[in-house]
């Protein structure tokens, strides 16, 4: 088991929260974490990343505390950002100097595939920034990837590039948790889908199973979350 949540509840003053969530994530899965805004998707990923601590219950990653194992986990947040003066070259220096599992050659390849310009991030569009951050994330050779809304606010063409890159970079012993609103676009990528509604676990099923019952993931999304 690469990651697990056992009876995790996260209490907040603000919107999101998790209510008594129990989930297990073995190696080799691509999991879609789906739900509306405020359903707890981001919170779930942040708890597994070690950015937030459960109010109740335990979260484990690689058998230990998430924050302690952060060197082996790739977290791509929705709201985290890079310094405005950073160029892809600076990002390379940053990652190479701090992460032992960072593959510089792969990073360069991803930058080319995703067409990230060699400019400061303040001179980049939102899509270009998103692609740079994704390149930084996918160039790391880890076993657990937590991608929080990697497609949010990104133009259509960039989104396609991002999804293709994710497919290309994934290896069969790695687990990716991907939360997104763009369910239709990403649905074919998911082997398993986990639906969250207002902090509760609403559904946890294999995508192909849903489809053999005649429903697409998008249909299920509407059903489960309305």
């Amino acid at each position: 088991m690469l990651a697990s949540l056992t009876n995790v509840t996260k209490r907040y003053v603000r919107t999101e929260g998790l209510r008594d969530i129990t989930l297990e994530f073995p190696a080799g899965e691509v999991v879609g974490v789906l739900g509306l805004n405020g359903s707890g998707k981001s919170t779930l990923l942040k708890v597994l990343a070690g950015l937030l601590f459960p109010s109740e219950g335990t979260a484990t990653v690689f058998g230990g505390a998430p924050r302690r194992n952060r060197a082996r986990v790739v977290y791509l947040g929705e709201t985290d950002a890079l310094w405005t003066w950073m160029t892809p070259q600076d990002a390379l220096r940053f990652m190479t100097g701090l992460y032992a599992d960072f593959d510089a050659a792969r990073f360069q390849e991803l930058l080319d595939n995703l067409e990230v310009p060699q400019r400061k991030t303040k001179a980049m569009s939102k899509g270009e920034r998103g692609r740079l951050r994704l390149a930084m994330a996918l160039a790391r050779d880890a076993r657990l990837y937590l991608l929080d809304e990697p497609l949010a606010g990104i133009d259509l063409l960039s989104r396609e590039k991002i999804l293709t890159s994710i497919v290309k970079e994934w290896h069969t012993d790695e687990t990716i948790l991907l939360s997104t609103h763009e369910v239709a676009e990403a649905e074919a990528l998911f082997e398993r889908v986990v639906f969250l509604r207002q902090g509760y676990l609403a559904l946890d099923k294999r995508a192909e199973e849903l489809r053999s019952e005649g429903r697409s993931v998008v249909d299920t999304f509407r059903e489960v979350l309305s």
Partner: protein
């Protein structure tokens, strides 16, 4: 080799691995794919279609079981030279015919009239 335009996936039309298998057999039946042709690797096809590589692996596994394709170690996945193309073509045709027949029945039209319409459409549809 197989290009993206030959593949059709519909998220509402049942499991993807089944659809991929259907697509391969369709391409074979229509001649877009020939016996002995090399298929893209599971990962390549997955990237092209934007689907999970395991799904393609599942699909290829099924096709292998149905003896349509075979994997040659170190060289890739190929359509079998003895793949039952004629059989697949007939199957596809039958499916299309069933659809037509169903429509004819629903409309309550005489079968001979229906055949006449078919001939009409066939002549019109022929390329010059």
């Amino acid at each position: 080799m197989t290009e993206e335009k030959h593949w059709e996936l519909d998220m509402n039309a049942g499991p993807i691995f089944v659809q991929i298998g259907d697509n391969v057999r369709q391409m074979l039946a229509r001649g877009d794919l020939k016996q002995g042709d090399k298929l893209p690797s599971a990962r390549e096809l997955a990237a092209m279609l934007g689907v999970n590589p395991n799904t393609v692996v599942h699909a290829y596994g099924e096709l292998e079981r149905m003896e349509v394709i075979e994997t040659k170690r170190g060289r890739g996945t190929f359509v079998r030279t003895d793949a039952p193309v004629t059989q697949m073509r007939r199957e596809l045709l039958r499916n299309a015919a069933c659809g037509f027949a169903e429509e004819v029945r629903r409309l309550g039209v005489d079968p001979r009239e229906a055949l006449g319409v078919l001939e009409e459409v066939w002549d019109v549809g022929q390329p010059d």
